[in-house]
């Protein structure tokens, strides 16, 4: 049996190659402290994402791994806290928002909004404080997807600010909350960008771990301006496996590289369809496209989601799958996606350099 010291526990933890975070506990600096007492060892981990559904399991697995390596009787305590992104300058009402994540796609219709809303709810289900901003001014969908009644408008505070609309615990804001259902936003680019920036900065978001921005499709005017004006922690690119969508997703990735926004990874949506009659699983839009794209840009494939009628039906009914049937495999795949996103944000924040400090001086 090993002599149990802090050093030996650390060494063994380094040798356990597996951790759910893709790199070892040592590399992620996840070890907060190790207390060795009479009755056993207490290992305190500090984890940079919320993972309520998995943390007990992780503690148990780790304890048993340590036992196998010759250190029995370790109690693992997991302390989850989302890191604040060093990239964000947090002006005004964004000051308590730890991370801002853009969800974008090159092509429309790949399920970006559906993924955003389910991802936001999944992050929240795991214990994070989440907000969502529907930035798709030409086709806003958040009201429908969250089932927010038409007569509900955001509350005006001090004539200047608005409170986000709360649904399922999620803080949400959309340009559609301000307008009538049937009126389209007839705006040119600069107007639209200003409106979005105001919506982002004048909403009283409060304390958030993640603010998800559901971007309009494409890589046009609004995208470039928003990417330039709003500094964000990272971006997620949604695509389907179809070659045509992958080509457009590539453009999205290039755009984020140009404006130095870290890409957290790619989500492959509508990857497979299981026939509801016979159970046969078909790759409707082909396969491997997203993986290939992720490899060529050296980013993570964060998750693969199925093409399923229920996902569509649930958002149309205003109750996304993650809240409608939380136990289902579909909801679980969003939870798994939320973990990956959380892990990538954690890693990106650890790597990231702080936003530069800007001083303006009048004289010496």
């Amino acid at each position: 049996m090993l002599e149990v010291t802090e050093a030996s526990v650390r060494r063994v933890l380094g040798e356990i190659g597996y951790s759910p975070f893709g790199s070892s506990y040592i590399e992620m600096e996840a070890i907060e402290s190790i207390n060795i007492g009479e009755s056993g060892v207490d290992l305190y981990l500090k984890v940079g994402l919320q993972m309520q559904s998995k943390s007990n399991l992780l503690a148990m697995t780790l304890s048993s791994e340590l036992e196998k390596a010759g250190i029995p009787g370790v109690t693992v305590h997991i302390n989850c806290e989302v890191f604040a992104s060093p990239l964000i300058s947090r002006q005004g009402h964004l000051k308590d928002v730890k991370n801002i994540v853009m969800v974008a796609s090159g092509k429309g219709g790949v399920g970006k909004s559906t993924t955003s809303v389910n991802l936001a709810l999944a992050l929240q289900a795991e214990g994070a404080k989440v907000g969502i901003l529907d930035a798709d001014i030409y086709g806003p969908s958040l009201r429908t997807m969250l089932g927010i009644d038409n007569h509900i408008k955001p509350e005006l505070v001090d004539q200047k600010y608005v409170s986000p609309v709360r649904k399922y615990g999620l803080k949400s804001m959309s340009v559609a909350f301000m307008s009538e259902d049937k009126t389209p936003m007839i705006w040119r680019g600069p107007m639209a960008v200003r409106a979005l920036q105001q919506l982002l900065e004048n909403t009283l978001w409060g304390d958030l771990d993640y603010l998800i921005i559901d971007m309009p499709p494409g890589t046009g005017d609004i995208h470039i301006s928003l990417a330039q004006k709003v500094n964000v922690s990272g971006a997620i690119v949604v695509t389907t496996p179809q070659e045509m969508a992958v080509i457009d997703a590539r453009k999205g990735l290039e755009m984020f590289n140009k404006v130095s926004i870290p890409v957290l990874g790619i989500v492959e949506n509508m990857a497979t369809h299981r026939c509801s009659n016979c159970g046969f699983e078909e790759t409707v839009f082909g396969s491997g496209g997203a993986q290939h794209l992720a490899d060529s840009y050296q980013v993570q494939l964060l998750g693969t989601l199925p093409l399923d009628k229920r996902i569509r039906a649930d958002v149309d009914a205003g109750s996304p799958t993650v809240v409608e049937s939380p136990g289902s495999t579909l909801a679980q795949s969003y939870i798994a996606l939320a973990h990956q996103v959380g892990i990538e944000i954690w890693k990106t924040n650890r790597r990231g350099t702080a936003a530069p400090e800007i001083q303006i001086v009048d004289s010496l």
Binding site: N231, V232, V259, S260, T353, A354, A355, I358, I360
Partner: protein, 106 residues
């Protein structure tokens, strides 16, 4: 983008000296005069003027403020209100090195 150089750690706008001082990530320093920044303003108007060879309408090179634009650029407002120019880090570095024209030509 050159990961070694950018982003800067500290950007100081010294109004008295009319100068922008930048300390880059690796410790290199750039001192850029307001007039240089104004001359190499990369907004579409100023570029168009350069192409047709028309002088600037106002010659004000006093800088009023500087603010961060997204993750990779600085926006500078001059005292005549001109604030259209957005200077990405690589461009600012090039201006500091006297290579602004080469950067634009590239």
């Amino acid at each position: 983008m050159n990961e070694v150089l950018y982003p800067p750690i500290l950007v100081t706008l010294d109004k008295a000296a009319g100068e922008l001082k930048i300390v880059w990530k690796g410790g290199e320093k750039s001192h850029i005069a307001g007039s240089e920044l104004r001359r190499y303003c990369a907004c579409s108007n100023c570029r168009a003027r350069k192409v047709v060879g028309v002088a600037l309408v106002t010659e004000s090179t006093e800088m009023r403020s500087a603010r961060l634009m997204g993750n990779n650029a600085l926006q500078i407002e001059f005292s005549d209100g001109h604030d259209r120019g957005i200077y990405p880090w690589p461009y600012l570095f090039a201006i500091g090195e006297g290579l602004a024209q080469e950067y634009l030509d590239e």
